[in-house]
């Protein structure tokens, strides 16, 4: 005959197992529901389209110049997607360990908007702006690199506007003015000047 205290212990353990099973099943359901919500977000497809040769205007801090370089990039057909890919290509170059123009580690471009007629809006993240090195030349090189690359590869752009975290900002890092639009003709002049060494 099983002693009474063992019966009680078994009953308690069985109850605990049942309660835990119920709890685990509830938790699983909750996790599934949460995961479903997260998964509902659209996932950007990898860029589709043929690889094309694009002109990237790469900033070199030493000796402070802007060089046009050809790069094979898979570019989608849509203008906005193309602009995004071009900007991503520049960022990848600047975040590389052998970067010629170092940007902060968490630097990113949140979005590129094509606004007719001819305005492109580049929305930088705050990590890029807040961590950017301060100086007229280094800040101007960043502005010129992004602007001239887009203007060269996407005909029809006449103005470029920079935002930081979706908001207008006075300067990039204390010098380069971000409060207004950059006219592409003026950027072209600037890029031309920056292509020659001091």
């Amino acid at each position: 005959m099983i002693p009474r205290h063992l019966e009680i212990a078994m009953a308690v353990l069985l109850s605990a197992v049942l309660m835990l099973s119920f709890y685990v099943s509830r938790m699983r359901a909750r996790v599934k529901a949460t995961a479903a919500v997260v998964d509902n977000r659209p996932v950007a497809p990898p860029p589709a389209g043929p690889t094309e040769q694009a002109a990237l205007y790469i900033a070199y801090d030493d000796p402070g110049v802007l060089h046009a370089e050809s790069a094979a990039i898979r570019l989608p057909s849509g203008r906005q997607e193309r602009a995004q890919e071009l900007v991503e290509a520049l960022l990848a170059r600047y975040l590389d360990k052998n970067s010629p123009h170092i940007l902060p580690a968490q630097a990113d471009v949140r979005e590129v908007y094509m606004v007719d007629p001819g305005l492109v809006v580049i929305d930088l993240n705050s990590a890029l702006a807040d961590g950017h090195r301060s100086g007229i030349l280094v800040e101007t090189l960043t502005i010129a690199s992004f602007s001239q690359t887009l203007a060269t590869n996407l005909p029809g752009i006449s103005r470029v506007k920079f935002l930081v975290d979706g908001k207008s900002r006075e300067t990039l890092a204390g010098h380069a003015d971000l409060s207004g639009d950059y006219q592409i003709q003026a950027i072209a002049t600037l890029s031309q000047q920056l292509q020659s060494s001091p």
């Binding site: 301060s134 007229i136 204390g174 380069a176 006219q183 003026a186 600037l190």
Partner: protein, 482 residues
């Protein structure tokens, strides 16, 4: 028989002129305001003049402070604030609030469903609704509801130049206006209260007095001075420092001074050929205008680039600026330092100071750790200048001087290039675009990447000499344009 009255043309013109003048003068009178300060909100309301009394909407006063509703019943206006109800008979000077009879200084008025009470009675009416006392400064039309106010202290530092420091118990944001002999700070949203006598006199020739006055829903602090003043903010808006605006400096006209102060400096510049009657550059012969405005960038809380824990851009630019001023003075070039202390200056303030002084050229100084040598920048302006009729757009004020700026940048670059790497570039850099006279920015980096160069006196002297040599070559053209 009909009789036609014809108005003489000159009489018609005079009448039109009179009507216009009356219209303009009628509109020019400033509306009366009452300001309310409370821990919940600070706000201002317009007053309405009825007879010999000023009235204000009672619902508008109470609205930001709690739940308020009103309704009109026959000739009575009923107002409910939180749980307290008031009954205001139209045209009566006695009203009932929360069961109490209150006498107003003038009859209550009901206009278009809006209940107006005389301003003088607010001190009686509001405490019943709010259940705590209020303080009403009747002469200044300022009402303090459970608000102790922001006090301030004044402290005059009688150095050279004298500075007046105002420390406030909480951050403030006044409107600042200057006029000859006065700097006026108007506090509309800040509950500033006097913490001493309304007029404080200083035994100082530069800053002689500070006065406090309350008027039309605002507090005003007026600083009286013999020279133009400039205000800068610090300590997160809790401190305002008033100091003389940087003024022109003119080297002493003594030849001995030149030989003593700068024995190796080049001889004074020749007068520009276009200046008839001018002889070699003695101050008496030189035009009584500032030739160069030197602007050390950044300052105060805005440090610019940080090169090392002990070396920041604002200090480097100030040292360079002082060196450049010495070089200019050695050549008898009249100079002005936009900033000669470690103070906060906004770009707009810098531009206004320079545009008022109208120098022949403006030079903004920057320092950088990146790159080598010097970059000379001119404003990057869009090619299409917005049409503004008689006025220049603020962001394009530089457009008419841009060609001269580029010529100056080229000359300075050529002169600098004799010793260090140098290049002329355009840049979107404020306040270059806001300056009406020829304007350049000079960014100096170390010669060979060694940051110690930035604080090196020899390097500073070398760069300054090159810049001044270029300015000397351009002097004739720049002064002719000036």
């Amino acid at each position: 028989m009909r009789r036609t009255v014809r108005l003489h043309p000159s009489l018609a013109f005079a009448l039109s002129l009179l009507s216009f003048a009356l219209f303009v003068l009628g509109d020019a009178s400033e509306p009366k305001l009452i300001s309310i300060y409370s821990p919940i909100a600070n706000y201002s309301l317009s007053l309405a003049r009825r007879g010999s009394h000023d009235y204000v909407g009672l619902l508008e006063i109470l609205e930001p402070l709690g739940t308020v509703s009103s309704r009109v019943e026959a000739q009575n206006w009923r107002l409910r604030f939180n749980s307290i109800e008031g009954m205001f008979p139209n045209g009566a000077a006695r009203v009932r609030i929360h069961g109490r009879e209150i006498d107003l200084s003038a009859p209550f008025l009901l206009e278009g469903g809006r209940g107006l009470v005389p301003v003088d009675s607010l001190g009686t009416v509001l405490p019943v609704f709010l259940a705590f006392p209020v303080v009403f400064h009747a002469s200044g039309l300022r009402l303090f509801i459970r608000e102790e106010g922001t006090s301030y202290t004044t402290q005059l530092e009688s150095g050279t130049p004298a500075r007046l420091i105002l420390n406030f118990s909480s951050p403030v944001n006044p409107r600042i206006a200057t006029e000859p002999g006065k700097l006026r700070m108007t506090f509309t949203r800040d509950p500033i209260i006097a913490s001493g006598p309304p007029l404080v006199s200083f035994n100082n020739a530069t800053i002689s007095a500070a006065s406090f006055v309350e008027t039309n829903g605002a507090a005003e602090i007026t600083i009286t001075s013999a020279v133009p003043l400039l205000a800068s903010f610090g300590n997160d808006g809790r401190r305002i420092t008033i100091a003389p605006a940087p003024s022109a400096t003119l080297p002493a006209p003594s030849a001995n001074r030149n030989s003593a102060a700068a024995p190796q400096s080049p001889p004074p510049l020749s007068a520009p050929p276009s200046s008839p009657g001018a002889t070699t550059g003695s101050p008496a012969a030189a035009p009584n205008r500032i030739f160069v405005a030197i602007d050390p960038s950044h300052g105060g809380a805005e440090t610019g680039a940080t090169f090392s824990p002990t070396l920041v851009e604002k200090d480097v630019t100030l040292a360079w600026a002082r060196q450049l001023r010495r070089e200019c003075e050695a050549r008898l070039l009249r100079t002005m330092l936009v900033r000669d202390q470690d103070i906060d200056l906004q770009n707009d303030q810098r531009a206004v100071m320079v545009n008022v002084a109208r120098p022949a050229i403006y030079i903004s100084l920057h320092a950088a750790s990146e790159g080598k040598g010097a970059h000379v920048y001119t404003a990057l302006l869009s090619l299409s200048t917005p049409e503004q009729g008689l006025f220049l757009a603020w962001d394009h004020a530089q457009v008419q001087s841009l060609a001269s700026s580029q010529a100056a940048a080229a000359a300075i670059t050529a002169e600098l290039g004799k010793n260090i790497p140098a290049r002329a570039v355009v840049a979107a850099l404020r306040p270059l675009g806001n300056i009406v006279v020829p304007a350049v920015a000079l960014e100096v980096a170390p010669r060979n990447g060694d940051l110690a160069d930035l604080a090196d006196a020899d390097y500073q002297r070398q760069v300054a000499s090159s810049v001044v040599a270029a300015l000397a070559a351009l002097r004739g053209k720049l002064e002719a344009a000036q």
